[in-house]
């Protein structure tokens, strides 16, 4: 059994997703570099990965969110960027976990709409009542049906 020596100990990595009509991941990366102050930034097709000391990453994330608050989304990542166990450059095909992101990416526009409504203080529409459960077949009616058939 080989010994395991971890890299990037004590750091956190976060994904930044941008789903915006006015900002591309490339533009986001450029603006993030300007305020990165030592945080490692990797541009991806959907946004960025940022890695660094927890406080520095939190500060950068807070800054990045201000660029386009309702169109930028952030989540934690367990692996550092480019890790050979996860990076698709080594594995081929989509990175594990990418398909889940892709699935949620499609409904981000509804979340954006929700955040914008909150920001504007719009009234929340009433949820449609859940369709009631159809009552099951009454036992007496069942007996009648059986009697009719027999």
């Amino acid at each position: 059994m080989a010994e395991y020596t971890p890299g990037y100990v004590g750091t956190v990595t976060k994904y930044v997703f941008v789903e915006s009509p006015s900002m591309t991941p490339g533009e986001l990366a450029l603006r993030a570099y300007e305020v990165s102050e030592g945080v490692l930034i990797k541009e991806t097709c959907f946004g960025l990965q940022v890695t660094g000391e927890p406080e520095a990453v939190d500060r950068l994330i807070a800054e990045i969110r201000t660029f386009d608050p309702t169109h930028i989304f952030v989540k934690d990542r367990g692996f550092p960027p480019g890790d050979p166990r996860r990076c698709r450059a080594n594995l081929g095909g989509a990175r594990p976990g990418y398909l889940g992101h892709e699935r949620e990416f499609r409904i981000l526009r509804y979340i954006t709409r929700g955040l914008e409504a909150l920001e504007r203080g719009e009234e929340v529409p009433e949820a449609a009542p859940a369709p009631g459960k159809k009552p099951g077949l009454d036992i007496q009616r069942l007996q009648e049906l059986i009697d009719e058939e027999s």
Partner: protein, 150 residues
């Protein structure tokens, strides 16, 4: 700031909204990061060692498959730590092998048994539901004892 367990534990949307409204999302990435950054025996790809199923015994009986116990070694401590939970019940992205499926069932069971405040909802399928989704999460997070910033 409350610690809020999110299900699906890899959800981008839940992770972002919980953090955006001033709380700490507890998801899979935190457990994975802890293992990735701890020195020991090399056990790719997720650094799940033979020790994990033993730790999982705290959350699942010995006759439960080791795959479920190993996964619970990651999620169990997070569920113990959680002060609240947000669950999306129709998350079709939270699928996987039988080990993942059974672990998901055990996670939901453990959360419901734990007695912490839980918000259960479905992913939005249109803009109106998006507004309701975001408003419901914000209202729930504000009602938690530890408040939140937003």
């Amino acid at each position: 700031m409350a610690k809020v367990f999110i299900y699906p534990a890899t959800s981008l949307i839940l992770s972002d909204l919980v953090a955006r409204f001033g709380h700490k999302p507890l998801g899979a990435a935190l457990g994975i990061r802890e293992r990735i950054q701890t020195a020991g025996i090399d056990s790719p790809p997720l650094q799940i060692t033979p020790e994990e199923p033993k730790r999982g015994l705290k959350y699942a009986a010995v006759e439960v498959p080791s795959g479920v116990r190993g996964r619970m070694a990651i999620y169990g401590p997070l569920i113990e730590e959680a002060e609240a939970a947000v669950i999306v019940t129709d998350a079709d992205l939270a699928f996987g092998c039988m080990g993942c499926a059974r672990t998901d069932e055990l996670i939901l069971f453990s959360l419901r048994q734990s007695g912490i405040p839980i918000l259960e909802l479905k992913y939005p399928t249109n803009e109106e539901e998006g507004v309701q989704f975001v408003a419901a999460i914000k209202k729930f997070l504000e009602s938690l004892p530890n408040g939140g910033e937003a």
